[in-house]
Structure formats: C-alpha cells, structure tokens
Symmetry: C2
Subunit: 342 residues, 2 copies
DNA sequence: AATAAGTGAGAAAGCGTTTTCTCGGAGGGA
DNA sequence: TCCCTCCGAGAAAACGCTTTCTCACTTATT
C-alpha cells in the first residue's frame, strides 16, 4: 500500500458506508448510469453532499482510461501567438469539460518529442504547436501521439488533422501591398531557421520574385522576438530599402522602436509590415500594417478537431487539413515612399 | 472492467513476462528503489527498452498519491501579466519534473472556487492568481486547497504562502513622479472592481492625497485591457488633467492610442503612466513610463514556494509572505506639463 | 399457481502501478 | 553439521474508482 491512511480524503467508501449501500451504488448514482431506486439515490446524494464527497479524478481516469485533459506543446510561451492559441484552446476545451496541460519546449528542438510523449501519456490527446523538429522525426512521432492536432505543420502518412496559416500567400500580399504603394527596394527580415512558417514565407517570396523581377528584395536573418527586431535596425537602415517585411509583429515592433530611436520616421521614411496581427499591433505608433491570422479561431478549431478524434475513437479517419488565408490589415505603418534622392 | 483489452498500450505486465520476472521486480528496477540482482535488472531494462515501455502516469499517480502536476487558475489568460506568471511557473516547475494545468476563470468570480477545487483534485497543489473572490470566500477556500500559493492576495487564518506586489507603494511613486515633473491635476483610471490590486492602488492614492492635499486627483472608472483604456480617452480629455495614472500597461496603451487618434501629444500635452512593465511597454511610442514588477520572478518564486510545501508535507508551516516593491521605470510617456492656458 | 422474464443492488474484477508481506535459499557462525 | 540471519524476488494488497457478473426479489404470463 502506498499512503498512510491517516487523514485521507473522503472517498467513495465513506459515502457508501454513510448511505448504507455499496460502492457500486454510489458510483452509479454519481454517474447516473444505471437505474437505481429513487429513494436510495436520494440517500446517497444526501450522504455525498454531507461529506462533501468529490470523486477522485485519478481513480476515475484509471478506471475509465481517459483523463479529460489534453496537452499542448508550444515552442515558446512568451510568444503572443502561442499564448492566444493556448487561450483559445483552453477556453474551448473547458466548455466541454476538458482541461489543458501545457509544455513549453523553449525552442529546444530535441525536447519536443519527449515533451509531447510525456504529455500524451498523461492526456487524452496532444496539440503540437508549430513544432520545430524535422519532417522525418515528425512523421515518425505523429502516429505515437495519435489523438493529435498539428498547428502550422502537416504530415503525409498518418491521418492527423492540421491547422495552418498560408504564410506564403500572406507575405506575398504584404509585399504586393508595398509595391503597389510604390516601393521598389524591399527587405524580408526572416525568422527562426527551424520554423516551418518561416520557410513558407520564403517560398512565398520566391514566387513573388518571379512575378516581380523588377523589385529588389533582400533577405536579412533575424529572430522571432522584439529584441531581434530591435537589433536589426542598423542592418535595415544600411540596406537602403524603403519597405520592410518583418517576420512577425514582434520583430516589427522591435524594429519600429529602433527606427524611432534613430529618428527615422515610419511610414514617411520607411514602411514596415508585421505578421500575425497580435492584439498589440493596432496599438503601436503608428499602428502596424500586418497580415491578420484568425488566431482566436485557431485555438478553438484545434479543440474541435481534437474533440472529433476523441469522440469518434478510431472511427472515420477524417483528416481535416484546414488552411487559413491571412487577411492583410492595412494600418499606418506603410505608405508611399518618399521621392528617391540616391 | 473498463476498456476493451484489444490493442492496449504496453504495460508493466508485458515487460515482466518478456523478462521472465514479476511485476514487482520490473517496478523496482524502473524506480531503482530496492536492491535487485544486477543480472536481472539488466534483463528487465533490456525488455523495457525493446518494448519501448513507458510507465502509465495515471497508474503511478494512483499508487503514489501524487500527480507531479500543479494547477494554476488565472482570471484572464489574455492578460500579459498572467501569461508571464504562467510562463515563469511552467518553466520553473518543468525543471523539477512537474507540469502545469491551466484554468482560466474569464473574470467570472463565481467560477474561481470551482475551478480551483477541480484543479486541486487533479494536481498536487494550486496556484491561485489574483483571485477576484471575496475575502470570506477565500479564507474558507484556502485550507481546502492546501498546498496553495496565492498571488496578489493573502489570507490570515491559514498558513499559505503568498506573493504580492506593493501596488499601493508603486502607484504612489508614479504619482509622485508626475508631481515632481510639475503636474497638478491627475487622474487615476481604475481597474476591475473585484481586483484586490486595484483596491491596493486606491488605498495608496488615499495616502498620497493626504500627503499632497494641493494636488487634484480624480478617479475614473475603467477596466483592465486595451479597449477600456481606449474607451476612456474622451473622459480623460474632458477631465482636464495633465497626468494620467492608468490601471496597468494595457489600459495605458489603449489610452495612448486613443490620444494619438485625437491628435493629443504624449508627453507634451498629457503624461501617461502604466503599471506592470509588460514586455511591450518599452516598445510603445512613446515608450511607457511604468512601475516594473518582477514578473518573471513571480512565476518562478511561486513554484519555489509550492515546492517547499510539497516537499515538507505538513512539516514546518513556513508561511512566507513575499512582497515585491515595484520599481518606477521612467521612459518617454511622462514629461513636464505645458504651461497652463486655462 | 408455477414458471419465465425483468429489475435493481451487492460482490468482485479490473484499470496500471507501487509497496508491504512472505518465503525460499544462500551464507556465516557455533 | 545445524541453526540463525540476511537478501532478494514473487505474491498479493492497496490506491479509488467503474462496470460486469451474479443473484435475490418482484412482476408478468400462461
């Protein structure tokens, strides 16, 4: 036996004893499963209420083979995008009586599989959010995790639902927006190397280049947060570009701040775009032109896809592959460039 | 019995059979508890590795009476402050092999106790973050939750550690800062009614009033997010004040944006302060003068306090009451007021 | 009136572990 | 050589619940 029996919590046995019935009957009335005599049921309920009995979820989980919990693993909990997904997921899941367990891989690629595995063992399913691992590893891991929902990645072999944003399309539209304003020299300030969404932006921009050979488009390596945007300020200025496509809103904001410090006006001197449309984007000065991804929907849809899998329990292998088109949100950080003087 | 036995996960029994030993022995080598013959141990380990055996955490939890999980309940997961606490907690807990389960009460006061109770039953402890419930209810709930850490609230009766920020002190220092710049007419844009930290600010400002009877200090009712700050713009302008103490950084940012839209310059025409120093605060335009709370420490310290309780298991009733003094962070959103013209 | 069918509650098995208890065998001292 | 002690491994109980199985009892059917 494990624990000392001293002052243990009130269990089903206590209720059974007080009500003068068996454990089984208590369980039945608590779960409303089988028919039980109304009189007895009332007695049990009274006893349960009096003892403030609350079923032990661990015991239930073991017996039922389910935990009513799902896990989510994100690369960086400091990123507002992932925070928003987490929030949407959590709220949607709570509506159906599920809780969410979080795991933050802190951008350590090698930890992802381990964290996901551990989460899966404790939960009824896992949402893998923008995993940085390689395709091969993901393909191998996915079946292991089975009730799995992927965000910003897809698998081919297994039938796992995925939600993704068409970053390639979005970045092209932003670039197009800058061009239509009259910009001819652009810079893409790229994101984390292992980020699939960054790769998608890159292929989108390749496409853009083909369609607009007359536009100069430089690539600058950056990161995914404020600081990396801020640090890129000088390189951006040195590039001589008038239109900047930042990897995301965070990077754009860091850049905005850096430009402001150096007295460079946005959008008069340089136009800046972000990506994601995080809640803060419309409150920056100037408000940020960006590509809005329906971030709140992502979380709740992730839950819906998860629920479908949990409920259908290996029934129909519906492999939903949802792809969201970003919507360009034109604000004040972009404008026609000043007349050239170089 | 619960589940169909078809295609169930590999359990301890499978390993035992493959290694030709008993369940007990497998458990022993997996946990390294008792002495077991090195040869047998090796055989067990080999079998476990070959079958990719991973102990079922639910079974372990039931036997061990612990889940290696803690819960956190927050009023609003959209608030960067709570996000940061969650993140700090999660990372610190992960370092000790613990996971965290989240519950978002969505500012619904009546849900808090229920969520906290459920979380507690599933976890080894609960972190209650800025609960909105009344003092009486909190006092009654706390012992129920026992391994409990309170953030931004305290209890008297029970010995529960609490971490709090001295909001009263911080708001006074901000007000003082505005006064020393020359402001004479201030407004406090208050936060959620049930927020204890808002009440602390109010008592701090009462104190401030006593010490500075010559200063006009109006109170305006607001909320805790962007939008409420934005919506207060006209009321702020109508107040005729030159120095605005916003409830927190979010409110301040909303206000900043509203003022900008109406062509009012910050800090030339109006000075604005925030509270919390969320990561975004130094990237607003102008960068926000605010009171920095050591938000990252809060999360990790919360974990430390939790760990102490879990480990000491009813040993020494160390009731740590940590209080953090905010540090005023002077940036560009505050300056001397323009000469009066009214 | 006797048998069949139905109903509802208790007994017990099972979920997957850990840990106590028990016991056979080996080793050491007398 | 015999007995006692020690050691290590298996048997089984325990954790707290759900659910099948079983069975006594009641009600319907002929």
């Amino acid at each position: 036996m494990a624990r000392r029996n001293t002052n243990r919590r009130v269990g089903i046995a206590d209720v059974a004893e007080k009500a003068g019935v068996s454990h089984a009957t208590v369980s039945r009335v608590m779960n409303g499963n089988a028919a039980v005599d109304p009189g007895i049921a009332a007695r049990v309920r009274a006893a349960a209420a009096e003892l403030k009995y609350q079923p032990n979820p661990v015991g239930r989980s073991l017996a039922l083979g389910k935990t009513d919990t799902i896990g989510i693993v994100v690369p960086d909990l400091a990123n507002p995008t992932f925070q928003a997904i987490l929030r949407g997921l959590s709220i949607a899941a709570a509506q159906d009586g599920y809780r969410v367990l979080i795991a933050d891989s802190s951008e350590v690629t090698s930890e992802e599989a381990i964290l996901a595995g551990e989460a899966r063992r404790r939960c009824d399913g896992v949402v893998l959010c923008a995993p940085r691992m390689g395709d091969a590893e993901l393909e191998e891991l996915a079946p292991t995790l089975h009730p799995l929902v992927l965000i910003n990645r897809t698998t081919i072999a297994t039938n796992t639902p995925s939600l993704s944003v068409d970053y390639g399309q979005g970045i092209q539209e932003l670039a197009q927006h800058l061009v239509s304003l009259g910009h001819r020299r652009l810079v893409f300030l790229s994101g984390p190397e292992h980020s699939a969404s960054n790769r998608q932006r890159l292929v989108g921009l390749d496409q853009f280049r083909k369609e607009h050979p007359e536009i100069e488009l430089q690539m600058l390596h950056g990161g995914s947060n404020f600081d990396s945007g801020h640090e890129s300020t000088d390189a951006i200025i040195a590039s001589g570009a008038t239109g900047i496509l930042a990897f995301n809103d965070l990077v754009a904001m860091g850049l905005l701040s850096g430009l402001h410090e150096r007295g460079i006006r946005v959008p008069e001197d340089i136009s800046v775009t972000g990506f994601d449309d995080i809640p803060f984007a419309k409150y920056t000065t100037p408000p940020l032109t960006t590509a809005a991804v329906p971030i709140n929907e992502l979380g709740s849809l992730a839950w819906r896809r998860m629920r479908e899998q949990i409920q259908q329990a290996g029934d129909a292998p519906v492999q939903a592959q949802d792809e969201f088109p970003p919507r360009v949100e034109i604000r004040k950080s972009t404008a026609a460039p000043a007349l050239k003087h170089a």
